[in-house]
Amino acid sequence: MEDQIVRITSRLVAPFIQVYGIYVILHGHLSPGGGFSGGAIFGASLVLVALSFNLEVGAKQISHDTASVLESGGALGFVITGLVGVAVGANFLANRSAGFPLGEVGELFSAGAIFIITAFLGVKVASTIVTLFYNIIEGEEKSGNAH
């Protein structure tokens, strides 16, 4: 896998994919998409780089520890956003009733907890895709060497 065209193309395309992924995540409450799809787009860009170069270059972009912290952090953020509701006296995972500012309808910073949770979900899904990819590839390599 030493193809110059693939490498240059993927390097060029990757930032655009990442920006698009972030756009989809942040506009989850305004347009089709959201944390799951945006996170998958963002994660795919990292996988793309790792595929067109090699694992070492890919691993430089995001280390195992960072990925696993982001992974747990994203999920924990979801739970903590839910607990804010409990803390202010509304129910678990409440949005409007917990006093999150809903803002102007249609603006980027609106919809209160939905915006926050979508961002956390995006982080979580992106790191999930990357972690899953690296772990399966490395598991494959390990067992490949063993046999």
């Binding site: 924990l76 739970v79 678990f92």
Partner: protein
């Protein structure tokens, strides 16, 4: 005062939170990860005990996730029977975890321990959710979590048999989840509701209009929960999965995971399906006969096993049959017996798997034949094994007798003495395969010829707790029975 209203959600938040936190804790603060898990499980248990008292005082109440009332949002419902199940799940899982901390050190590689804690917390958390949730789709999501994490706590062991067993379990349990989703889709299509109470209200009309859909949905539910709870002809995954798993996982899977699905099916029967529908389709009758066959065949298969853990696993197929028998008999006393058996079996089967774990830890033996004379070197473990077996057989003074007694009473009350015969016969069969092990362990004169590692105290104390609990359940069963009778009467 404010916070106590949110306990149902906080239990879920604590268990999910610790499972997300465990990998990080294990990576950077290894010493804190096990105490953190134990603390979270205890915290959840304390909240569940508080909920029990609250339910006893004010009767059943509900909790709206996100503050949205039922047709729009997800509802948790806390009535007596659900809180009872929640308590069983949390108490038994805390107890198993205390044992597991020591046992896992030699069964797992150190680097996967953090992930094991994660998976364990997720199994417990999803089961707590299944016990409380009052929403069909939410039940599906929680079942998915439970299914994947239950497979993973088998496959973490470095053993080819574990992978194979876990894969078989994964496929069959995914099939069960798929059947359930299809059934939920059918129910949603004809009622337009997800909440149990609203589905229950909408179903009588829907059954008139779409009878075949309802037949199909109920058949799919029986298959889904039957597969997951190892109801007789759908039990094929259980023996391998429960026998090859690490001992704490076996205890967890046999003790709790198969029962939570029996419980979910029970809730479907009594809170989802309206009574006329249940009477028009012979669902109870099907359950009864499958359960009876499971009771007989589980015991017969267990007799011919040579591997100790495999024998215990086959015995689980028979024992889950008692719980289904209680549900199928459709009588207050029988259901009380079934649910009492659920608690007693969770304790005794977990304890027997723990004993097997101690034997494997200390001597490495798995074959029943080689256990002769082991009572001289592992007296405490074999004492616990004896009490557990006695309870399996149903000897007076142990919890097993009480549950069988109430099941038999229930069968007599609705005039089906044939099931009393089945219960008696299966008790005899249990005696046939448990007694020789105990007799050989204590009575054999020959010296025990295998190397014996000393057993740490942390593994023996949970066994004492289990023995005490079984004897307590056998002698002071009255408060539990009264509680369960009240809980079951509320459902009719």
């Amino acid at each position: 005062m404010e916070l106590t209203n949110h306990f149902p959600a906080l239990i879920m938040a604590v268990l999910l939170g610790i499972s997300f936190l465990s990998p990080i804790l294990y990576r950077w603060a290894r010493k804190a990860s096990a105490p953190a898990l134990i603390t979270s499980l205890s915290l959840a248990l304390v909240m569940a005990i508080y909920l029990l008292f609250q339910v006893l005082q004010v009767g059943e109440f509900t909790y709206y996730m996100g503050g949205w009332p039922p047709p729009y949002g997800i509802e948790f419902r806390l009535d007596l029977i659900r809180v009872y199940m929640l308590l069983v799940v949390l108490a038994v899982s805390l107890w198993i975890m205390v044992y597991a901390l020591k046992d896992l050190e030699h069964e797992l590689k150190t680097e996967v321990m953090g992930w094991y804690y994660t998976l364990y917390a997720l199994v417990v958390g999803s089961m707590a959710g299944i016990a409380l949730t009052n929403d069909l789709f939410n039940l599906f999501v929680l079942m998915e979590i439970c299914a994947i994490s239950a497979c993973a706590i088998i496959s973490v062991k470095e053993d080819r048999a574990c992978l194979e067993a876990s894969f078989k379990y994964l496929i069959l349990s995914a099939m069960g989840t798929g059947c359930f989703l299809l059934g939920v889709a059918m129910i949603y299509m004809v009622t337009g509701q997800m909440n149990y109470d609203l589905v229950n209200a909408a179903l009588p009309e829907a059954v008139e209009l779409y009878p075949n859909n309802m037949f199909a949905a109920s058949a799919l539910f029986i298959v889904a929960f039957g597969t997951k709870a190892a109801l007789f002809p759908l039990h094929v995954w259980l023996p391998d999965a429960h026998a090859s798993a690490p001992s704490p996982s076996s205890a967890m899977l046999s003790g709790l995971v198969i029962k939570i699905y029996a419980f979910a099916l029970f809730i479907m029967f009594y809170q989802l399906f309206p009574r006329p529908l249940l009477e028009s389709i012979p669902l109870n009758e099907i359950l009864l006969w499958l359960a009876s066959m499971g009771i007989m065949f589980g015991s017969i298969f267990a007799m011919v096993q040579v591997d100790l853990k495999k024998m215990l696993a086959y015995s689980s197929i028979g024992q889950i049959g008692y719980v289904f028998l209680g549900i199928g008999l459709d009588d207050t006393i029988a259901i009380t017996g079934g649910f009492y058996h659920l608690l007693v079996h969770a304790i005794m089967k977990s304890m027997l798997f723990m004993c097997a774990g101690v034997i494997i830890y200390s001597t490495g033996i798995r074959q029943i034949k080689q256990l002769g004379g082991i009572g001289q070197v592992l007296p405490i473990t074999m004492f616990a094994f004896t009490i557990g077996s006695a309870s399996m057989i149903g000897i007076p003074g142990t919890g097993g007798l009480i549950s069988k007694w109430y099941l038999a009473l229930g069968a007599l009350e609705i005039g089906r003495p044939i099931f009393v015969v089945i219960i008696l016969a299966s008790s005899l069969l249990n005696a046939v395969y448990y007694m020789p092990i105990i007799v050989n362990a204590f009575m054999q004169q020959e010296q025990f010829e295998y190397q014996v590692k000393p057993v740490p105290r942390q593994m023996l104390i949970p066994l004492f707790v289990g023995v005490a609990a079984l004897v307590f359940l056998g002698v002071f069963s009255r408060p539990f029975i009264v509680l369960l009778e009240n809980a079951v009467q509320l459902l009719f």
